[in-house]
Symmetry: C2
C-alpha cells in the first residue's frame, strides 16, 4: 500500500512550507562567504573558560536534581536568580511570576497555542521577526500590520489596528528589533503603553537584545509601563549561549501564565534542567555582570565599522537604520533597485545578506529592503563586505 504519508498532513501544515530564508542561510554558510545573513551570536562571546566551573557548581549544588524531571514552569533556582536579573530590563517580577521557556521560540509557540484560533487577528510590526511568524503560523492567524518608521512602531497605526481589527494580541520587538535594529523611543513606549491599557489589549514584548547596548541610554521596557497588559519575554541566547535554549517570560497577572504552562507541558514537559541550572549559576555567580561588558565590547566595533563603511560606500539615496546595539542593521534602497538581483550578484562575490521581504507578514512587503547582520565578522571583513555591496549598487 501507498506510503506517501504527506496525504495525512493537517491543513495547518501548509503554513510551515519550507521558507526561502532557510535556503539563504544555507548558501550563506558556504566556505569563503562573508555572511551578513545570519543572526547568530559570535562563539567568541561564549564564556568557554568558566563552563567547567559552572558545571561543577551545578553538580555541587543540585546533584541529580539538575538531571531529573522538573517543573514545567521552570527550575526554581533559575527563576529566583532571574528576579534581580530582570530588573536590568526594568521588569519587576517575583519568582512565581517568572516562567522558563525553551528559548524565545518556545514562548512564542506557547503564546500561539493558547491564544490564536484560526482566522484570529494578530498585530505585528511591518517588518517583524520571522521566527514569531513561524511560531504563530501553525495556529492559523490573520496578520494585521502596524506601520513603523525609524523610531519603531507608530502609535497611531497601532491604535487604528486595535480599533479596526481587535487583534488577540500585539507582538512587538521594541529594542534593537530583528530585522531592523530599530529601538522604539521612550515617548512612543509611553504612548503605546497608554494605548494598550486604554484598549484593554494584550502586548507581547519580545526583548532578546536589550542587554546588547553599545552606546546611548537604556530605554525601559514597555512591561515596566503597563505590567498588567504586557507578556514579557527574553532569552539567554545573546547573553550566555543560544544552544542552551533557555528563555524567560513574565506574563501579566491572572490566568494567562497558568495556560502558558499547561500548553508547554503538552509541548515539551519542561526545558532542559541542565540548561536551566547552567543559566542559574551563570546569573547567581555574577558571571553575567562580568561578561556582558565583554560581549558588548566585542560587538561595538563591528557595528561602528559597518555604519562607517555604509556611510562611505553606500549611495546617498539609500537609507539605513543606525542602531545603538543588537545584531542587525536595516537598509532600504530607492525605487527602481532590484534587491533580489543584487542578492544574486552579491553571492557571486561571496557576500550574503537577507532580502528584507522575508520579514513581512504581507508577502508583498519589503521588496526594497535588506537585513545586514554585523555580529559574525571582524570589523575589517565587514568593511570589505559593505564595500563590495556598495560597488554592486
Amino acid at each position: 500500500m501507498k506510503t506517501d504519508f504527506t496525504r495525512l498532513l493537517a491543513p495547518r501544515t501548509e503554513s510551515m512550507a519550507s521558507s526561502a530564508i532557510r535556503e539563504i542561510l544555507k548558501v550563506a554558510k558556504r566556505p569563503g562567504m562573508t555572511s551578513l545573513a545570519g543572526g547568530i551570536p559570535a562563539p567568541e562571546t561564549f564564556p568557554m573558560d568558566i563552563l567547567e566551573h559552572l558545571f561543577s557548581e551545578v553538580l555541587d549544588r543540585w546533584g541529580p536534581s539538575a538531571f531529573q524531571y522538573d517543573l514545567t514552569e521552570g527550575f526554581v533556582p533559575l527563576r529566583e536568580a532571574a528576579v534581580s536579573y530582570l530588573r536590568r530590563y526594568s521588569v519587576e517580577a517575583s519568582t512565581e511570576e517568572i516562567m522558563v521557556s525553551s528559548g524565545s521560540q518556545g514562548l512564542l509557540d506557547a503564546i500561539g497555542k493558547i491564544l490564536i484560533g484560526p482566522g484570529d487577528a494578530v498585530a505585528v510590526e511591518s517588518p517583524t521577526y520571522l521566527g514569531a511568524l513561524q511560531a504563530f503560523n501553525p495556529y492559523g492567524p490573520r496578520y494585521v500590520e502596524i506601520e513603523t518608521d525609524e523610531k519603531g512602531a507608530i502609535p497611531e497605526s497601532l491604535e487604528e489596528v486595535l480599533k479596526k481589527d481587535k487583534p488577540k494580541f500585539v507582538y512587538l520587538v521594541p529594542t534593537f528589533q530583528n530585522p531592523t535594529g530599530r529601538t522604539l523611543t521612550l515617548e512612543r513606549r509611553k504612548a503605546i503603553a497608554e494605548i494598550i491599557v486604554r484598549h484593554g489589549a494584550l502586548l507581547v514584548e519580545d526583548d532578546p537584545y536589550a542587554a546588547l547596548r553599545y552606546r546611548g541610554d537604556t530605554v525601559p521596557s514597555i512591561k515596566s509601563m503597563a505590567p498588567d497588559h504586557v507578556l514579557y519575554g527574553t532569552t539567554f541566547s545573546k547573553v550566555f549561549a543560544p544552544g542552551l535554549r533557555v528563555g524567560l517570560a513574565v506574563p501579566p497577572p491572572g490566568e494567562l501564565g497558568t495556560w502558558l504552562v499547561k500548553a508547554k507541558q503538552g509541548t515539551d514537559l519542561h526545558t532542559s534542567t541542565l540548561s536551566q541550572a547552567m543559566a542559574a549559576v551563570y546569573l547567581e555567580g555574577g558571571y553575567l555582570e562580568e561578561r556582558l561588558p565583554l560581549i558588548c565590547a566585542h560587538y561595538a566595533p563591528r557595528l561602528e565599522s559597518m555604519l562607517e563603511a555604509m556611510k562611505e560606500f553606500f549611495p546617498s539615496d539609500w537609507s539605513w537604520s543606525r542602531p545603538e546595539g543588537g545584531m542587525f542593521l536595516w537598509a532600504e534602497c530607492p525605487e527602481g533597485t532590484n534587491i533580489i538581483n543584487m542578492y544574486e550578484k552579491a553571492l557571486s562575490r561571496n557576500v550574503a545578506f537577507v532580502p528584507g521581504r522575508y520579514f513581512y507578514a504581507d508577502p508583498a512587503g519589503g521588496s526594497r529592503t535588506m537585513r545586514l547582520n554585523f555580529t559574525n565578522a571582524d570589523p575589517d571583513v565587514l568593511r570589505q563586505a559593505i564595500r563590495t555591496l556598495g560597488e554592486l549598487i
Copy 2:
C-alpha cells in the same frame, strides 16, 4: 480596562484544562508519602560519577559548537552515535534518517502539529499514555480506541478501527506500556505490522522503556517489521537522565520527517545542544552499555518485590499485569470495588497511586483500574505499601 485575558483564549485551549492527575502527583510528593503514583526514574540510576568527565569531553570535542545554535533535526554527532544505539531496539536507520526531539513529548507534539486537523480520528490503545493525549489534544483529535488485553493491543480491534474510522495514525506503546506495563507479544507485533502495511496506515511506535528489561527475551520493535509504515520514537529519559529532554525519532521514509523538522523549528528551533552533546558522548564512550545493566539491576528487585507482595496481599479476584521490565504495573479490581474511595483511604495511610481512569481517551473508561509505579522506592518499602493497599481492599 479589563485585563482578564482568559477571554482571549483560543477554543483549543479548553483541551488543556488542568488534569486531575497533576493534583494527584502533587499530593504524592507530600513528605512521608510512599508514592506509587509517579513515573520518574530513580535518581540513583543517573551516572553522577561520570558527568564531569562527560562534560569535559563535550568541551574538548566540540567547544563553542556545543553551546551554539544548531540544526533543527539534531546535533550530528548524536545522530551518528544513535545509528548503532538504535540497533538495540532493532531499528535500522542512517544518521540522516534520525532526528532529535525535545524528549518524547516534543516528538508527540510535532506529530500532532503536522497530522491532526480538528476532528481527525487518532487511534490509541485503551488505556494509553496520558502524555500523548496531552500532546495531541490541542490539535483537536477525535480518539478512537483499540481494545487491549494482557498481551497488549488486540490486532482484530486495530483492524476494525482502521476500517471504520480511517485514523490519521495509530499510536502504540508496545513495550512495557505506560500505564499497564504490558508488552505486545511477538505474534501480535507481526499481525499488527501486517495489518498496518495492508491498510497503508501510519503507526507511531513510542518506545521509551524497551531497554529496561529485567527478565525474559527482547521483542523486536514493530518498526523492524514495517519500516516504511512506522514512525519510531525513543528517549534518553530512562537510560541516561530525563532532565536533559532528549529523544530520538526515526520517521518512515518520505517527506514526513521533513515536516516534523519544520514543525519543530517553529516550536523550539532545536533541542538544547548541550543536552544533545552530553547524550552523544554518553553513547560514544560506551557508557550506556556499561550503565544499562546497573539501571536494570536497580529496578529488577523492585518489580519482583511488588509482584510478590501483590500475590501475598491482594485478593484473588483482583488481576494485575506481570511486566518483565519498565516502570509500571496495572491492577484491576472486581466489579463493585470503588477505586476512588480506595485512593482516598490509601492517601490517609500515606500511600499514593494513580486511579487508572486518567489513562483512557474515553472519560468513562478504567474505573476499576489503578497504575502502580515500582521504580521509586526500595523493595521493602514497596512491599509495605502493597500490604497497606491489600489491607484497604
